[in-house]
């Protein structure tokens, strides 16, 4: 592990920050339990992805440059609990700023320090949960597209899950298929998005899992919203929450 000792920066992502801060706290607990000191940079709002995906590239550039400038002033790894925001900072930032030499250099500097949460834990820290207390759950894992296809992070989340005692990974039909979230796609093309979601939810429900986990809150809001509408009893959570709740002294859950 390089990029500056034990200090890491948390890029919380706008969704985690506002909608499900528990996920952010779970990330913090897992990282702290691994002996790291977590900092939250001031002034971060969003990585700019919504504007970028909607074709509003100048607007997206402004937002991205704002974020990159803040992160550039910090030290250590930047941990991102979202595959799609990590993909935005690590890959898309280069494409988006390809005509802005200075911005591109900044993007290269910052993206070299960016890590998606599960990849960081698995690949950089070699984190394993087999020493943690046993806790039963049958988990359907949803590999979000930007995590698996965008970043190529396919195995780390599975390895982390499988290291937990009492956790059973449930195979889901069409597991790799997109859930239909796609950011603004979910409202701009609501019919297609919902049709894709329903197919995914049918498969998840048929898997017999009691928990649906992913590394992207966007997909989870979409799938969780669909499950709530279906009055499903499935628990919907971020991978970080599954890990954090098994840590010792977690009775007084934050959030």
């Amino acid at each position: 592990m390089t990029a500056g000792g034990t200090r890491v920066q948390l890029f919380p992502t706008c969704l985690v920050d506002e909608i499900r801060p528990e996920i952010g706290w779970a990330v913090v607990r897992v990282l702290e339990a691994a002996g790291l000191e977590v900092e939250l940079p001031e002034g971060l709002v969003c990585c700019g992805q919504p504007a970028y995906n909607a074709g509003f590239h100048p607007e997206a550039q402004r937002v991205l440059l704002h974020v990159l400038a803040i992160l550039d002033r910090t030290e250590g790894w930047i941990v991102i609990p979202s595959g799609s925001c990590a993909d935005m900072l690590i890959h898309q930032s280069h494409e988006l700023l390809r005509e802005d030499a200075e911005g591109l250099a900044l993007a290269h500097r910052v993206s070299a320090r960016c890590r998606e949460f599960s990849a960081f834990l698995d690949e950089d820290l070699g984190w394993r949960g087999d020493g943690l207390p046993r806790r039963e759950a049958s988990v359907a894992y949803h590999p979000s597209c930007h995590l698996s296809r965008g970043l190529g992070v396919t195995e780390p989340p599975k390895r982390l899950l499988e290291s937990l005692r009492g956790v059973e990974s449930m195979p889901v039909e069409g597991q790799e298929d997109c859930c239909g979230f796609g950011g603004l796609f979910s409202v701009k093309q609501a019919d297609i998005s919902a049709a894709m979601m329903n197919r995914k939810l049918d498969a998840v429900e048929a898997s017999g899992a009691d928990t649906l986990a992913s590394c992207d809150l966007g997909c989870l809001m979409h799938l969780g919203g669909g499950l709530h509408r279906r009055q499903s009893k499935l628990r919907v959570c971020h991978l970080a929450e599954l890990l954090a709740e098994r840590l010792p002294d977690d009775e007084a859950a934050d959030g």
């Binding site: 074709g55 937002v63 796609f185 049709a195």
Partner: protein
């Protein structure tokens, strides 16, 4: 394409369509996987194929000049068509010169793209599609819905019904039986045809030849029985030589139908050279631009490397939900969402690049690794100039960019928004809403923001501990 939304909402509710799509795409995906397992260096061949196609496109002008020279040297007559209308006129002129009445056609996307059949029929010619799927589509009066399997939107049972209705044969849904009936009907017509029309899978520059593949042998007949053969070919379909062709054919067969190679591969090197040889007396190649040189000059030039295998359609979760016809033009699926705006203009097709969740399954499966998501984003950016976009989006995005770069002000609007969302919510969830929230809550509930954001709580804790 104002009724794109209508077509989509009909398609997503069409259970019958989904049965047809699921059956076919599952079979195709499965077969592709088996075929891939038999080519251990598949990834290398993909890299090679991509490099070849991109290099060819980058020097397309030079390749085209040499291609024309070599075709001509082989006795093939070359025509250039700037657009579909011109291409159709060239075909009609050839037909007229030969007093042709009956035309047999092998499956070709380029001729679909320029609506050649309609032009021929309008001029009084009889046109018969000889690819089985295409033939059924013609019988049913449907446009193709997939670039490899034209009738992917029909179930076996649908096909049986169409044959029963249109040909008067007894109903059966046995594929073998149906194919037999179709072949018998078709064979008759070949003998009477005076013009054979095909597309081209590849143009081989060094050889001055075009390459055509099929699984049915109908291409052989189409290009050898009639006196005249006309091939309509997009200008981007070139490969430098037979070496590259051989590798690209392997990629194409595996990706398209999950075969190691298609059953029939024809290399057309010109008309017959003496009366006792087989083959047509005249061979014409029409090099079709129809917007391609525009695409070449733009940010999505990469799409011209497409070898039309259809794999991206089979992998696409959106295609799986809406089928081919919803795309409203010749090329459906991910390839279509880039190619259609390219050849028809974004003004009439700006909705296509929007209809993607950017999941990247197409990029992953594409044999020549075309970065379709990148091109979709690039088209979305270009759409802003031509798409009728509601002012709410423009203002919304400007506002987003402003507040996302002004954290203090953002906190203030966030507080207002959060207050209202939380007030309207029931136990943390919204079940209805207006605008985007209305679209969201049509089939899912919306989780409202937490009482306190992570950032707020973080600050509070820090204050407490210091």
């Amino acid at each position: 394409m104002t009724d794109f939304g209508d077509r989509v909402s009909n398609a997503v509710r069409d259970d019958h369509l989904h049965i047809a799509i699921d059956r076919a795409t599952a079979a195709l995906r499965g077969r592709r996987q088996t075929a891939l397992d038999s080519l251990p260096d598949f990834e290398d061949v993909r890299d090679f194929g991509r490099a070849v196609k991109l290099e060819t496109i980058a020097h397309l002008d030079e390749h085209l000049v040499r291609f024309e020279e070599n075709l001509t040297a082989n006795g093939i007559q070359v025509h250039w068509a700037e657009d579909g209308e011109q291409a159709n006129r060239i075909v009609l002129d050839i037909a007229k010169r030969h007093k042709a009445r009956r035309v047999v056609k092998a499956k070709s996307m380029a001729t679909e793209e320029i609506h050649l059949n309609a032009a021929l029929e309008e001029a009084g010619l009889e046109v018969l599609e000889t690819d089985l799927g295409e033939y059924i589509a013609q019988l049913a009066g449907h446009a193709p819905s997939h670039i490899i399997l034209p009738i992917l939107h029909m179930t076996r049972e649908d096909v049986g019904q169409v044959m029963h209705d249109r040909l008067g044969v007894a109903y059966t849904d046995d594929p073998q039986e149906m194919a037999k009936t179709a072949r018998t009907t078709l064979r008759q017509q070949f003998i009477e045809a005076d013009l054979g029309i095909t597309g081209a899978n590849f143009g081989v520059v060094d050889e001055g030849a075009i390459c055509l593949v099929s699984n049915e042998g109908n291409i052989r007949l189409t290009t050898s029985l009639p006196k005249v053969h006309v091939a309509v070919m997009g200008i981007e379909k070139l490969v430098p030589s037979l070496d590259e062709l051989e590798k690209l054919l392997r990629l194409l067969a595996r990706s398209a139908t999950g075969q190691k190679l298609t059953s029939y591969t024809s290399l057309i090197r010109g008309p017959r050279r003496s009366p006792d040889e087989e083959g047509p007396e005249e061979v014409h190649v029409i090099l079709l631009d129809n917007g391609r040189s525009q695409v070449l000059a733009g940010d999505q030039a990469e799409i011209l490397g497409c070898i039309r295998c259809g794999a991206c359609l089979n992998a696409c979760p959106v295609y799986q939900q809406i089928g081919g016809h919803a795309y409203g033009d010749t090329y459906p699926g991910p390839i279509g969402s880039i190619f259609t705006p390219g050849i028809r203009g974004l003004k009439s097709s700006y909705e296509l690049p929007q209809a993607s969740s950017l999941c990247g399954a197409c990029r992953d499966i594409c044999p020549v690794r075309l970065d379709i998501p990148r091109m979709l984003l690039s088209l979305r950016r270009e759409s802003r100039a031509v798409a009728p976009m509601g002012w709410t989006w423009r203002v919304g995005m400007k506002g987003f960019a402003f507040f996302a770069t002004h954290p203090r002000l953002h906190r203030w609007v966030r507080n207002v928004g959060r207050f209202f969302l939380r007030r309207m919510a029931d136990d943390g969830w919204l079940r209805t809403g207006l605008g985007p929230l209305g679209a969201w809550t049509k089939e899912r509930d919306f989780a409202v923001p937490a009482k306190r954001s992570l950032t707020e709580e973080w600050r509070a804790r820090k204050r407490k501990s210091s």
